[in-house]
């Protein structure tokens, strides 16, 4: 019966602290407080709604309990005013929480300009964190406190989902494309990371720990790099060894293919079919893996061999990081 006592104890402790926190995980960032405020509002209006519906049902059940088998009941078919009210009031409430949820979601999704970028690679069943310094860490995720961090995430096999409860953020990691996420950790400490998209036998073991540390400690940790190469340097090596150099210059001169200089972030990059794209991770990814999907205006299709299956996710990331440095 020991576990039962422990259970009741936990129930008591949880119930006592419930009023304050509504059971949400510790708040690790500003947006988490926004989410919790929205949640509190919804919790209280929902509670009120349930009191009206369930309380009303119990009240009527008691008050209008059948007295005799010949009870007469009034014939009330409808009431326009009432029906309008109980359609309109919920509608207004729903629209309020919709707009509020939109605002919170928007803050979550708009990436800050100055964010510190980290690449996340998911595979069955581990999380790899790749920093621009060349440092790679598995299942231990170090971030500096107080600095916005942007995650560029890729999956090597199936769907995964990156979830930090204390930051109230979550994003699926989808094979074949990059997804992004950002947060700013406000407090140092260790936080739990879960995979929340079902990914097979060890799904529930695909855990990681986030370590939020002071910026100087983070810098120090970042520099402890065994290979000594930054991501961009690794990318430069690939640029030479994989033969990209034959057709793509890094100085602006036009060879068989477009130059990589000044490519990153350019908007209004015009395609042969007239459409205009912004050069981001997903664009470069597709241009490398499946180059004929979109051909830059002035160049010919069919010349570059598709790299699908020939480059690893790590190599792709390094190449993109290299392109980012060619301002």
């Amino acid at each position: 019966m020991n576990w039962f006592l422990a259970l009741m104890n936990t129930v008591a402790v949880n119930t006592a602290s419930a009023a304050g926190k509504s059971f949400m995980p510790p708040v690790g960032t500003e947006i988490a407080s926004d989410v919790d405020n929205l949640y509190s509002f919804l919790l209280w209006t929902s509670f009120l709604g349930c009191v009206i519906l369930i309380g009303g049902m119990i009240f009527f059940a008691v008050k209008y309990k059948r007295r005799t088998d010949n009870d007469k009941t009034p014939y009330i078919s409808h009431n326009m005013a009432l029906e309008f009210l109980w359609s309109f009031i919920p509608l207004v409430l729903f629209l309020v929480v919709f707009a509020w949820g939109w605002k919170v979601y928007h803050d979550m999704r708009v990436m800050p300009e100055n964010a510190f970028e980290i690449h996340v690679q998911a595979k069955q069943w581990q999380w790899d964190f790749m920093y621009k310094s060349g440092k790679v860490s598995t299942n231990d995720f170090f971030v500096p406190v107080g600095i916005p961090v942007k995650l560029v995430m890729a999956s090597e096999d199936v769907l995964h989902s990156f979830y930090i409860p204390s930051m109230r953020i979550k994003q699926d990691v989808v094979p074949g494309r990059y997804t992004t996420l950002w947060f700013k950790a406000d407090k140092t400490g260790d936080y739990q990371i879960f995979c929340t998209e079902y990914c097979g036998a060890a799904h529930s073991a695909m855990l990681a720990k986030m370590h939020v540390v002071p910026a100087p400690d983070f810098e120090k940790w970042l520099q402890e790099n065994e290979e000594g190469l930054t991501l961009a340097q690794k990318g430069e090596k690939l640029y030479n060894s994989k033969g990209c150099i034959a057709c793509h210059s890094t100085d602006g001169s036009v060879k068989v293919g477009p130059s990589w200089k000044g490519l990153w972030g350019s908007t209004g990059h015009t395609m042969a079919n007239g459409k205009s794209v912004t050069v981001d991770e997903n664009y470069i990814r597709e241009s490398i893996l499946n180059p004929n999907a979109d051909i830059v205006k002035g160049f010919s299709a069919g010349l570059m061999p598709a790299q699908q299956g020939l480059l690893t996710e790590d190599q792709l990331t390094a190449l993109i990081e290299y392109i980012k440095t060619l301002k």
Partner: protein, 528 residues
Amino acid sequence: MGNTHASGDNYINHEKGLWSWLTTIDHKRIGLMYMIVILFFFLCGGIAAMLIRLELFASGPLFDGNTYNQILTYHGAIMVFMVIVPGIPAILGNFFLPIHIGAKDVAFPKLNLASWYVFMAGAILAISTLFTTKIDTGWTFYTPYSIKTGTAVVTMVMAAFIMGMSSILTGLNFIVTVHKLRAPGMTMGRIPLFVWAVYSTAILQVLATPVLGITLLLLAMERTLGVGIFDPARGGDPVLFQHFFWFYSHPAVYIMILPAMGIVSEIIAAFSRKTIFGYTAIAYSSLGIAAVSFFVWGHHMFVSGQSEIAGIVFSFLTMLVGVPTAIKMFNWLATMYRGSISFESPMLFAMGFLFLFAIGGVTGIMLATVGLDVHFHDTYFVVAHFHYVMVGGTLMALTGGLYYWFPKMFGKMFNEFWARISFVLIFIGFNVTFFPQFVLGAMGMPRRYADYVPAYESLNKISSIGAWTIGVGFLVALYVIIEGLMSKRIAPANPWGAKTLEWQVQSPPTHHNFEVEPVVTAGPYEYR
């Protein structure tokens, strides 16, 4: 079976022998045949549920990860495709829809029997995978995992495809029946709300199920022929699968709940001895829910990688679905106002439905709120929410409906005392199981986890104890049904004093339902 009519002839003893059942085109007999197999599948899915809660009772592994994933897949797939989706329309819809509108049978009786055989073929195919490689994808078959896994995905999706075909045929049959076979005077404004609900569901079945069929066929093609549609390694898009899948599976949520709402309308009116409040509003809100439900599928995908604008639009549209649902809740409440309410077990289940569906509804609004859903998505909060709607809603209504119509279907009365015991066990067990899961979800526990971090252990223990209570509750309900069938308590034609047509004929009904074609002169709930 006892004879309850002077002539002694009814649909059960009209013909004799197993062969007469397997070749019957009587909608009532087909309804019973569905009942037998669906209750059996419910038992199978329920055993899987008990095993899930056994694993989660304590932190640390009991089964290995693969076994656990298989159990949760079969629990989900059996309960969705073989119990909750077909449940109410196939059993109670088949039995009562024609009688409700004063018809002798459905429009296409032979097609109706064919639906049962098609359903059985799909169901047997689905069960057959238990004896080959047990599927481990979850009931959602998300790509690319479902393309890469070595398990019997193709067999299972073909089974779901075939059962979907049965669902389409049944839906088609009901639509035509409602339009063409209503008795003289039975206008669309006089059909019972159960018929409106099953009719709205039938429209969804016919329009949405083909999309599931196509999607599953594409998945099977991708696995067998290597066509690259969903697998990024072959140039496909895994998120496209989710769009296709939820384009069916969200309307399917309403395929599951609308008929339940129909039953609740019937029971509340009958046990309050009062005309239903807002007949038109309830009827049209069924159609409204059916229509809007086609445009909300993206709320399953707020964090899937779909665009921000898509997330916002789907959040907005989902809020709109909340309105007709709220309307129905208030209408049922208003029906009880100044009624003459008695509390036999069907009414207890209907009130249990209102209680649990209210909680399922408000938590649905929380999940529709996009900024909040990012935290709740794929946690136990979602698991708790949809069990409140699917079990607290649909299965409570199905159980209540089976008790309500039991005297009519079999001509016997069940044991009211044990029926109430089953309600108490199911209702309390349900809340003990699933309310803690809201808390677990808020705390961040992800779903589909074979094991969890120690912080989640105590609430999981409570949840497991609740689950076993529900299990006992449903076993008691099964006992009530079997004991009722074997008892000698003859049911009168109208034990509850209800006004809809099925209560105006003998219990159990004759082969042709009505000796003379009824002429309808009033609405279905004329309690005055």
